[in-house]
C-alpha cells in the first residue's frame, strides 16, 4: 500500500436550531440545555471541514478531485442545511437533537456512501469559532 495523504475541503452554511429532548419536562430541558433550549430557536454560522485520506492517484496526482468533493458536499449537505431550521426542516433531526456532535455524525453518514471505499473520511464541524467537533474521533 502506498503512502496516504489527507486533503481538506472547507464549506459553510448557516442555520437555526434548538436543543431539546422531548422525553424530558420543560424544566429539565431548560436546566440541561440552558439558553440553547429557548423555544423560538437561535442560530449559528457553521463551518464544515471535510477531511479525505487516501493514496495519490498516479495518473491525476489527486486523492480526490476537490471540485467533485465540493459539489458532493454542496448538493448533499449545504443545500439541505443552509438557511434552514435544523429541527424543523431537516428530516435527519426530526427525532435527533441537532447538537454539533449529531450534525457531524449525520454529515458523515450522508457523505460516506458517496466516496470510494478506499478513502477515509473525517468531519470537523465548527458551531461557533470556539466550539467544534470531529467525527470519527480517530481515523
Amino acid at each position: 500500500m502506498g503512502e496516504r495523504i489527507a486533503v481538506f475541503r472547507k464549506e459553510h452554511f448557516n442555520a437555526a436550531h434548538r436543543l431539546h429532548n422531548p422525553a424530558w419536562s420543560d424544566q429539565q430541558n431548560s436546566e440541561v440545555f440552558g439558553k440553547c433550549n429557548l423555544p423560538n430557536y437561535h442560530g449559528h454560522n457553521y463551518e464544515l471541514i471535510v477531511k479525505v485520506i487516501g493514496e495519490v492517484n498516479p495518473e491525476t496526482g489527486y486523492v480526490i478531485d476537490m471540485k467533485v468533493l465540493s459539489d458532493l458536499i454542496q448538493e448533499h449537505v449545504v443545500n439541505v442545511f443552509d438557511h434552514k431550521n435544523l429541527n424543523q426542516d431537516v428530516a435527519a433531526f426530526t427525532h435527533l437533537n441537532p447538537t454539533a456532535e449529531n450534525i457531524a455524525i449525520v454529515i458523515f453518514s450522508i457523505l460516506r456512501p458517496l466516496l470510494d471505499k478506499t478513502l477515509s473520511l473525517q468531519i470537523r464541524l465548527y458551531e461557533t469559532p470556539r466550539n467544534f467537533v470531529e467525527y470519527p474521533s480517530h481515523i
Binding site: 448557516n14 442555520a15 437561535h42
Partner: protein
Amino acid sequence: MPTFYLTRKEHFNAAHRLFNPSWSKEKNDAVFGKCANENWHGHNFELFVTVKGSPHPDTGFIVDAKLLSSIIKEHIVDVLDHRNLNMDVPFMQGKLCSIENLVHAIWHQLEPHIPKEVALHCIKLVETPRIFVEYFGK
C-alpha cells in the same frame, strides 16, 4: 488632547428571518431568497463597539474596557444571545430584521448608557465571515 478610538468586541448567536409582512410569500421569496425561510435560520454574530475620547491622565485609558463590556453585555448581548431576533427582542418589534436595522437599533439602545467620558463612534456587526455592516450614528 489627541483623540483615540477604542473598540470592544463581543459576540452572540441568534435566529432570524428576512420578511416583509406587507408582501406576498412569492415576493418575499423573490427578494430575500433563502433568508425568508419561514422556519428561520441563524448566525454567529460578532459585535464591535467603538468609542472615541482622550486618555484620562490618571488611568491612561479613554474608558474602562471592562466597564464598556459590561454595559454592552447588559443592554445588548443578554437581550440578543440565543434569541430569535424577530420574535424575542423588544427593540426589533415591527422592524425588518436586516443587520442594517439591527445595527441602527443597537446604536440607539446603547448610546444612552455609554460612559460620559467617551462618545459612541461606530457599531459594526459581522453577520457571517463575509458580510458586515457599520453605522456611525448618522
